[in-house]
Every structure is written in C-alpha cells, then in structure tokens.
Symmetry: C2
Subunit: 244 residues, 2 copies
C-alpha cells in the first residue's frame, strides 16, 4: 500500500508521501511517490501517487515525455492549476483505458493522485484526482486530502488541522499522522518524502527525505507517545457506573 497526504493552508502547501510498495508481504520495494515539477519563479507543483505502480509510473512517464518532446498541451504550457489537474486526469484515464482495453477488470489498474501547486499569480490549489480522471479541490473547510492507507492517520488531521494554522504546526500534525500510520500498518514504510511550499514563493523546493535514523522524526515520535500516555492518565477517571 501507500500513504500520501497533502495540505492546502493559508500560508502554503505541505506534501508527505511514504515510499513502500508491495506485491505481497515478501515483495517489498522502495519507490518514490512524490514528483516535483515546475519552472523557477513561474510555476510549481507536485504529483503524489497511490495505487497500481505501473499505472502511476506510466502517468508520470507520459507527462514527462510530453515535456521532453515539447508536445502540447503539457504541464508547462497549460495556463492554470485547473488545467494541470485536467491534463493529469486525462492522462490517467488514457493509461487505464489502454491497459484494460481487453479486460473488464479496470479496478486492478486503478490509481489515485494528489496534485497541488501554484502558477503565477493564481491562488494555490490542491486536487484529488480519481481513477476515472475527474477530481475535487481542497477548500478552507477541508484543507487536506489523503490517498492510500488513510484511515490510521485521519483522526489527528480531523481533530487538529485547520486552514489557518501556521505551516510548521500543520507539518508536525501531518508528520504525526504518518507516524501513527507507520506504527499500525507495515504496508506503509520509511523513508518519507516531505515537501513544504510557501505561498507565492514560486520556487522549487527540493524537499526532505526522512529516513529511519532521522533525529527530528524520532524525537517527535517519542515525545508524541509520551503526550498520549500522559494525556490518557490526565483524563478524569471513569464514573462508578462504568463498573456496575
């Protein structure tokens, strides 16, 4: 499986992806699932992928090939983030249609994508693209999307994340969401790819790779365990009628 999460906040965008792929528990590999595109000073966006690895690599492959051969439309010729999402969605639909031309088992080849970024003076956008190629965009009410193994890490986002939060606090929230998922499900695994984009910067951040020996991640993971244990102990004791 996979876990990818993306946040669209007042002050910027945060993207985190794991790197574990598996075809059975005895066939585990590391593949990057966070791809960065852009032109310094003009446009920046990432694509995060979850699902069939051949499908996701084909989608990225087609999109990069269009850029290499300068075929239009491509990721650097379209005008808006909406058109980026459309192009990615069309590409995904085409890849799935090609591979399933002779079969009805489309869902084996499904993948989901998150696309977030900014073009010129347009506001930042974040899209969740479905296997059918259609998509929804993040809002102030729902400032995050998850794809893949999303349930373990959803409660902390539901509870603590808000659109107006400072980026660094939201980043910690998303990292804890990953830490919870890593601990509860072995199909999501280190290293993690993290990328923070600051609103209107139009730069191309490199992002950071978190390995198992990452000191900061280890520190917040340990502190979070203590926070939860202490938090539970500090809750008021159950009333008597729980024990009748």
């Amino acid at each position: 499986m996979t876990y990818c999460c993306a946040l669209r906040l007042k002050d910027g965008l945060v993207f985190i992806s794991d790197t574990r792929t598996n075809a059975g528990v005895d066939h585990i590999s590391v593949f990057r699932k966070l791809y960065i595109f852009g032109i310094e000073g003009k446009r920046f966006f990432t694509i995060q992928t979850s699902g069939n690895l051949a499908t996701t690599q084909a989608v990225i492959g087609y999109l990069k090939n269009q850029l290499t051969l300068n075929q239009e439309p491509n990721l650097y010729s379209v005008n808006t983030m909406f058109e980026v999402a459309e192009l990615v969605g069309h590409t995904l639909r085409k890849v799935i249609a090609d591979v399933t031309a002779d079969t009805l088992e489309q869902s084996n080849y499904y993948c989901s994508l998150l696309v977030g970024g900014q073009i010129g003076e347009e506001p930042m956008q974040l899209y969740n693209i479905y296997p059918q190629g259609n998509f929804i965009s993040a809002t102030k009410d729902t400032p995050f999307f998850q794809i893949g193994e999303s349930k373990y890490g959803k409660p902390i986002l539901d509870r603590a994340l808000s659109y107006d939060m400072p980026i660094d606090e939201a980043l910690r929230c998303a990292l804890i969401s990953f830490d919870s998922t890593l601990r509860s499900n072995v199909s999501v695994g280190m290293p993690l790819d993290v990328l923070v984009y600051k609103k209107d910067s139009l730069n191309l951040p490199e992002g950071k790779r978190i390995n198992e020996s990452d000191e900061y991640f280890e520190k917040i993971s340990k502190q979070w365990s203590e926070t939860l244990k202490k938090g539970l102990q500090d809750l008021p004791k159950p009333t008597h009628d729980y024990f009748d």
Copy 2:
C-alpha cells in the same frame, strides 16, 4: 459498519461496541452488538458482533435457542472458554453455510465475532472468531482485538495500551479509540455499549450505555482534543531543512 473493541488485561476485561448499522447512508438503524451471557458466580462472557446483521442475529438466536430448549452442547453446558469459542465458531459456520447453500457469494454474509469471559477458576480468555469459524486468542503481547471499522482507533491502542495497565486507564484508552473513530467515520455511531468485567469476580455486570449527551464521554472527548492540540504545539519545531 460497526466498531467493536475488546481488551484482555491483567485485572479484567473491557468490551465496547457501537450500535450503528447501515444498508446505505439513507438506511441507518440502532442495533445492540454486545450480548451478555452467564450464570452469576459461575461463568460470564460477552459476544460482540460485526458484519451481516442477519448472520449475527441468527448466531445469537441459535445460541439462545439452545439455552431455552436445553439442547446440548450449549453456552452453559460447555466446560471451558475454549469450548465456548468452538461452539460460537461452529454456529457461525453453520449459519453462513445454510444461507449460502445456493450461492458462491459467501462473503456477503460474513460476520466476525469477539468472545471474551471467564468460567470458574479458569483464566479469563478473549477470542476473535473469523467468518470461517476458526479463531485466535488474545495474549499479553497483543491484549486487544478489534472488529469492524478498526483502523481509525488502532493507533491509540497500539501506542498506549498494555496488558499490565490498570483497568480504568485502559478503559479511557478504549473510549478515546472510539471517540476518534466516531469523529472520522459516520458509519460508526452512538450510543456505545460498554462493559467492564473484573478478574475472578464471576458476576454479571450490566454494563453502561453511553448516549450523545453523556457528560463523562463529552468531557474526555473535549479534553482529548485539547491534549492533542497542545501536544502538537509542544513538539519541537521542524528543522530548517524541511523548508529548503
């Protein structure tokens, strides 16, 4: 869906079940999924159910019918908790075999069960019974089982629960696991049924039903939100390389 959770601790057993059933989002009902059996001073156990409602009600129906008609073996005639689990497992397998005699679509009729309790001087036991009627038992290493919509509430149990924990603290941990699930998934819903059994008491606790207006649950839910938000703020700030 459903969420049921059961803990087997050094000092006792804790059982919590939600009560929401749904056949589509426009067909939601309240059904109890935690059943209590026993003979005061001699044996006590609960059965928690998740999955096809007709299957789970048939299983409980057969088990009660055996008691009413005094057919052996029955839940009060078998000698050990292992035999209780076997009887429940056989009954489940029979119910599914009956309803699927003319179809290959067995999985539509699946359900999972948790059976926990104590008979006489035997140690307390907790079993997770699969749709095929076979089962596994909880251990010191893995002192809890979940059935149904289990992922949202698993991180807090993985992180904070241990076999040696005092019952009241483990109960708070399990209640928080439910609170997280209730917030993140509308297919799990109030009221909750909670039951605590103290080791070697061999009494038949009534258990408690938690409604939406329950003061204690509301209090710990609110305090937990504050714990998480404060805990996030107290984590050390991300290092600079996250923002490059």
